[in-house]
Amino acid sequence: MQALPAAATAPILEVRDLRTHFFMRAGVVPAVDGVSFGVAPGEVLGLVGESGSGKTVTGFSVMRLVEPPGRIVGGKILFRGRDLAQLSERAMRDLRGNRIAMVFQDPMTTLNPVLRIDTQLIEAVRAHGRTSRRAARARAVEAMAMVGIPQPEERLSAYPHQFSGGMRQRIAIAIALLHRPELIIADEPTTALDVTIQAQILAEVQRLAREHGTALLWITHDLSVVAGLADRVAVMYAGRIVESGAVDRVLDHPRHPYTSGLIESVPSRNRRGARLRQIPGMTPNLLALPRGCAFRTRCPHAADACAAEPRLTETAPGQMVRCFYPERVTAA
């Protein structure tokens, strides 16, 4: 296990060798298997990977919201130096929504359909600290206005189904921002939205995070979102980080064949008309991972050495790669 290079300031969140496994009837699924990263104040870390790579479970692990049969089985989740993995449920509840907030992927399902928006906002205000209903309501109106919901006062007494997906995600973001958290974990919050709404929300979140110095852990499978939003990026594959570093560096000079494959499968104007490249094969079954490098069965550069487990190594300042042959990978 290697730590990422220290950021300019001490990280708000430092995850060390996190392991979250799911104990299924068919066997143990190592959804997150030795993941380490850090996020500094005001920094945006993009956590990238395909479905099933363990990026969402990583986010939920930090929130300590992994449901059985899943369980955090090892590692440290240091938030301001305190290990969340060891924290009591009661202490964890004080942090959730207060100092660490989360925005979910699908805005259509994150709000309770039978409760009014004001109920869901006010309860979030009052979950942390004594606030009168009146003051809490005022805070809710303020938060709705902040994320750009028109006529927040009237819209507050509406139900979720009376809002569009984009508006619902804004409400979820408003809830996440209520207590000015130091860290926001955003789990593909724009995936379910139209591109124009997506751009608006991204700009909004970026502005809000910058204004408040909030650290962002942005989980996504969309490299173009990462390119526009993140400062650093960590690429996950089969429960592990295979490459990490500054966004420009990693996207321009990927050193892991998986990263390069991901980049090449993004449609681009420059290669119009050319056939899109795909990564051959499928994401591996976590119950039956190949020995050694989990990516070798899909890798164009795989060699015999890959049957052993590669370690994360620094190929350039700040860029870590888990591959035996990083020099074979060239930018697309």
Binding site: L65, D94, R96, T110
Partner: protein, 323 residues
């Protein structure tokens, strides 16, 4: 409000169809005159009584007469008690309603907490015991459970009385058992007996709802907000699962009133269920018809209330109506 009118007209047709059934059925089963008139009565006396009841007329005429009278609010006089049938039933109705409402209250007050328990901790030993018990609650016949309750709590342990309403107190000019301690003691066993089936039903519905709602994103999001477990279960989960429970409890209330017939017989509870059993025995047609009319109206009203509750509980129903 068009749908309300619709409902009322629908109810009218159900009442019509049912009264026709009652008239035909009673006519097929036998002649009330044979039961009502003493075998010693002479021909003249017999003819006089038959004429007095209108039984000498052809059946369609009797039915028409009934309809005309019913339109004036008169459901006929009991052959047996020589009292207005409606009055007779209304006198017994509070006892049945008291029993049925107590049973429904018990099923909600016991069923929902047990269902939450079984839904939140499905693997706990207690939850498994509760679920197993609910199968018994479903399948054991009401009358048998009633007899067992009497055997155990009234005969063996002697804790609770087994028959009658006990001391009653007047409220709005009607005697109620639940207002006195003795009355409550009398009410407990029959109410529990009547509630048993519904407890099992509510319990299973609650459990199923909890199992369904818990994995939802919005519950996880509620946790991500830092809400207390009490708030999540008490507000987020409960409100989301209330809809099917309200439906079933509402509809079951009607059945509970109807099923009270059995419980009332076992516990000698002087309600309308007992009256209707006796009336069927002597083919007291006006009482049977009036009872069924009231039951139909009751069901229609309950369905109406359930529909209104829907809109209060689920905002999405409201927009469907508008759109």
């Amino acid at each position: 409000m068009l749908w309300l009118l619709h409902r009322v007209i629908q109810a009218g047709f159900v009442v019509l169809a049912m009264t026709v059934l009652v008239f035909v059925a009673v006519n097929v089963v036998g002649n009330p005159a044979d039961i009502l008139i003493s075998p010693q009565a002479d021909q003249a006396e017999r003819a006089r009584v038959i004429a007095a009841f209108g039984l000498d007329q052809p059946l369609w005429r009797q039915y028409l007469h009934f309809l005309v009278q019913a339109a004036h609010g008169n459901l006929g006089r009991s052959f047996v008690f020589n009292q207005p049938a409606l009055q007779l039933i209304l006198q017994r109705m509070p006892a049945t309603m008291e029993l049925a409402v107590s049973a429904v209250l018990l099923s909600v007050l016991i069923g929902i907490p047990l269902g939450l328990l079984a839904g939140l901790w499905p693997d706990a030993l207690l939850s498994r015991a509760v679920m197993a018990g609910s199968i018994l609650g479903f399948s054991l016949p009401t009358f048998w459970v009633g007899l067992m309750l009497i055997m155990v709590f009234a005969v063996q342990l002697g804790w609770l009385p087994s028959t009658g309403r006990g001391r009653t107190a007047l409220l709005f000019g009607v005697p109620w058992s639940f207002l006195t301690l003795d009355g409550l003691r009398h009410l407990l066993l029959p109410a529990l007996n009547l509630a048993l089936f519904n407890i099992s039903l509510v319990l299973r519905l609650t459990r199923a709802g909890v199992r369904e709602v818990l994995p939802m994103d919005y519950i996880r999001f509620a946790r991500a907000k830092g809400l207390s477990p009490a708030r999540i279960v008490g507000v987020h989960v409960l409100k989301a699962i209330l809809m099917p429970i309200v439906t079933v409890v509402g509809l079951e209330f009607g059945s509970t009133v109807a099923f009270a017939v059995v419980t009332e017989s076992v516990f000698a509870w002087p309600g309308m269920g007992k009256l209707i059993i006796d009336s069927i025995g002597v083919l007291d047609r006006p009482v049977i018809a009036a009872y069924l009319v009231i039951i139909v109206l009751l069901f229609v009203t309950i369905n109406l209330v359930v529909d209104l509750l829907y809109t209060a509980l689920d905002p999405r129903v409201r927009s469907d109506e508008a759109g």
